[in-house]
């Protein structure tokens, strides 16, 4: 569900001028390893694409400069999966990029894509070529789900790795968070009838049962209907501690507005479907105040010294501050560097097969986003879901997502 957020970021627009020129001050004798960097550099998401790629640039520049892997230089190659016609990512272009990389044996690994839609197009091709890719931001669970292995990794081995969690964790972890932070005992669950919303609401329901939280009821909102007062009156009569909403803004905006009138004191929470500028703007204060939202990625925490340090370097180098996905991409690049290093240390040939095997076993116990190890599907063993709460901040524009959604912390895994 990256689309909305990044579209916002693009709209927020601060001009970034950096290109993907990882400086090649390395020795002439060094072997060059190509790393693909696929992102949507054209279209609505170009701003965030650049920020994502810049995270990788820093990692590879560091590695080349410090000669982290002796005898090898990394060369980051930009591949644009956005097209002017699509105005954003184009799955067909993403597939072409995947084929380009697979055809050139110089590529030993890749980073990207930003968008799940692009990932779905690339994954089967990369699987056939056994070329590992690490995505910094695509969160659709299907791509790495073993249920869909025949579709997305026909070769069998995991090739689609992530430094973000998947949407599948948003529901359960939000319940964990609310139980721990707010002590909820009784909830009412609503969804917006869409695939994403129903899935999220199902996940809430399962986790509530697992945690012993009483589910007072579950109802489905018609996103085209205007009136939810009836259902909210019913919810009010049951007096839940929290209302958990699975869905996006279309029903969410109307729900939030009417919930504020009818059940103002009940805790309200949703997934990344309500982590968006259209939700914030459409609902408006005061109705939107207090809503919880989650996001399937670690949040840049500038109170952490090392993150602040990274932000400073990043800003000095590129003139703009990094966002969450700059850091997940940076971390993905570190994983690739670590993998290549272990291959070289073991005395094996550096090629895409050995690098893929090494990425699967990568163990970075300490990164800006916590420990990084992958499971057999390519997903993070310790997925991080960030929780945000909307609190009115009058020092910033009231439709500024970054200012009004306050980081509330990492959702507990249990």
């Amino acid at each position: 569900m990256l689309t909305r957020r990044s579209a916002f970021k693009a709209a927020a627009g601060i001009a970034a001028t950096a290109t993907l020129g990882v400086s090649q001050s390395a020795h002439a004798a060094d072997k060059v390893l190509k790393i693909g960097m696929d992102a949507s550099f054209t279209g609505a998401d170009s701003e965030s694409a650049t920020r994502v790629a810049n995270g990788a640039i820093i990692a590879f520049e560091d590695a080349n400069k410090a000669k982290t892997v002796k005898g090898y230089t990394f060369q980051l190659v930009k591949l644009d999966d956005g097209t002017a016609t699509a105005g954003q990512y184009d799955p067909a272009q993403a597939a072409t990029n995947a084929r380009t990389m697979v055809a050139d044996k110089g590529y030993v690994a890749a980073l990207g894509p930003q968008m799940s839609g692009a990932g779905k197009a690339m994954s089967p091709i990369l699987s056939a070529g056994n070329l590992a890719i690490i995505t910094p931001s695509s969160t659709n669970p299907d791509i790495t789900d073993p249920k869909f292995a025949a579709q997305y990794r026909p070769n069998g081995k995991a090739i689609y790795f992530r430094t973000v969690a998947t949407d599948a964790f948003q529901g359960p972890y939000m319940v964990n968070y609310l139980v721990k932070a707010r002590g909820i005992k009784k909830v009412y669950i609503l969804d917006d009838s869409g695939a994403y919303g129903v899935g999220l609401a199902d996940a809430y329901e399962r986790q509530c049962k697992a945690k012993g939280v009483e589910v007072l009821g579950r109802d489905r909102l018609d996103p085209k209907a205007a009136d939810y007062a009836t259902i909210l009156t019913k919810v009010k009569s049951l007096a839940p501690d929290a209302v958990l909403y699975g869905g996006v803004g279309q029903a969410g905006v109307k729900l939030a507005k009417q919930a504020y009138e009818i059940i103002p004191n009940v805790i309200k929470a949703g997934g990344d479907g309500v982590f968006a500028v259209d939700f914030l703007k459409g609902v408006g204060f005061p109705a939107v105040d207090g809503w919880y939202a989650s996001n399937a990625s670690p949040h840049k925490d500038d109170t952490n010294k090392e993150t602040a340090e990274f932000s400073k370097r990043f800003t000095a180098r590129f003139g703009v501050a990094p966002d969450d996905y700059s850091i997940t991409c940076y971390t993905g690049a570190l994983a690739i560097i670590q993998a290549v290093k272990t291959v070289v240390a073991a005395g094996k040939t550096v090629n895409r097969d050995t690098v893929r095997d090494a990425i699967e076993k990568v163990n970075l116990p300490h990164t800006l986003i916590g420990p990084i190890t992958f499971n057999e599907n390519g997903d993070l063993k310790n997925p991080v879901i960030s929780v945000f709460q909307i609190k009115k901040d009058t020092t910033h524009p009231l439709d500024d997502v970054d200012a009004q959604y306050h980081y509330a912390g990492v959702a507990p895994q249990v």
């Binding site: 909102l221 009136d227 007062a229 009569s237 007096a239 803004g249 459409g282 408006g284 204060f285």
Partner: protein, 309 residues
């Protein structure tokens, strides 16, 4: 909340919905009564009304729910808001009738009805392209006063909506029953040919019906905005369809029938949401409609017109 409180609260919710549907249903019924034309553009005249009201209130410097007005300024803003919205929507109605439907008056078959569907989409797309497709935060200057009746809550805005709806419907009833133009409307509805022979300017009557119906749709649109604090380009279809159903339920062409139908649909919607789940509301509403039409084909208060040519 006791069961009684819950019942009371759902009745309050249902009556507010009903007030909105009734006003909208009147537009369908007026036009149908006279021309036997189902005017589908009415759906989006309602939506445009909501947008006009939003823009008008914003011109007063109202933004979201930040500014609360009381006393005379509130009454003034409301009066101006309703006046502007209703006049402009009435104007749109007249425009649709005069420019697009009158040339088709002599055409038999579904051409005029299809035209109204076309107009509906044109209005929809004009708003989509100018104002946009996302949910807008409708300015609401009403003070958040609420009265507790047991466990149920009656808010000022609900009372206001009922008062406005009753005033408008009362005014319309008076107009149709006792004024000259009203009588002309009824005469035209009964028999256009005879009315023309009696010296009634049928074209003017039809145009007035369009003006009044569309103005009521505009009022209904503004009420929608004030009730939900929301304006969105797609609100017309949902509300319009229910209002149309209300008109048919009450007996299309029949003014008190449209009011009764609207209130009934509102109450059915809120009680089915309570007892069956909101996903079932439409099923219940339309099942009841079908049932009523099977047992009483002319609708609850309607009469069949036996000898209309």
């Amino acid at each position: 909340m006791t069961a009684f409180d819950l019942f009371l609260q759902q009745a309050i919710n249902g009556l507010s919905l009903g007030a909105m549907y009734s006003l909208l249903a009147l537009g369908f019924t007026l036009v149908y009564g006279i021309m036997e034309l189902i005017n589908f553009s009415h759906f989006n005249v309602f939506m445009v009304g909501c947008m006009i009201a939003m823009v008008t209130l914003k011109l007063f410097g109202l933004n979201g729910q930040d500014t609360i007005l009381t006393g005379l300024p509130l009454i003034g803003v409301m009066l101006v808001g309703f006046f502007v919205t209703m006049t402009l929507c009435g104007g749109i109605g007249v425009f649709i009738e005069r420019l697009l439907l009158r040339p088709l008056r002599a055409v038999k078959g579904p051409a005029p009805m299809i035209t109204t569907i076309g107009v509906s989409y044109v209005l929809f797309n004009i708003i989509l392209l100018t104002i946009g497709g996302d949910s807008k935060n409708f300015p609401n200057p009403l003070p958040p006063i609420a009265f507790n009746i047991g466990g149920a809550v009656l808010r000022l805005r609900e009372i206001l909506i009922w008062i406005i709806a009753v005033l408008l419907m009362g005014g319309l009833t008076y107009f149709v029953q006792y004024t000259k133009l009203g009588k002309a409307i009824r005469a035209t509805a009964q028999d256009q040919e005879a009315a023309r022979m009696m010296g009634i300017e049928v074209d003017r009557v039809i145009m007035s019906a369009f003006f009044i119906g569309s103005a009521l749709a505009g009022a209904s649109g503004m009420i929608f905005g004030l009730y939900y604090n929301l304006a969105k380009v797609d609100i017309g279809f949902g509300a319009g369809l229910r209002a149309f159903t209300a008109a048919v339920l009450g007996g299309i062409g029949n003014v008190p029938g449209a009011m009764l139908g609207g209130v009934l649909i509102g109450l059915i919607e809120s009680s089915s949401g309570q007892f069956l789940g909101s996903a079932w509301s439409d099923v219940v509403i339309f099942s009841i409609l079908v049932l009523v039409l099977v047992l009483k084909p002319a609708g609850l208060l309607g009469r069949l017109a036996p000898n209309k040519s």
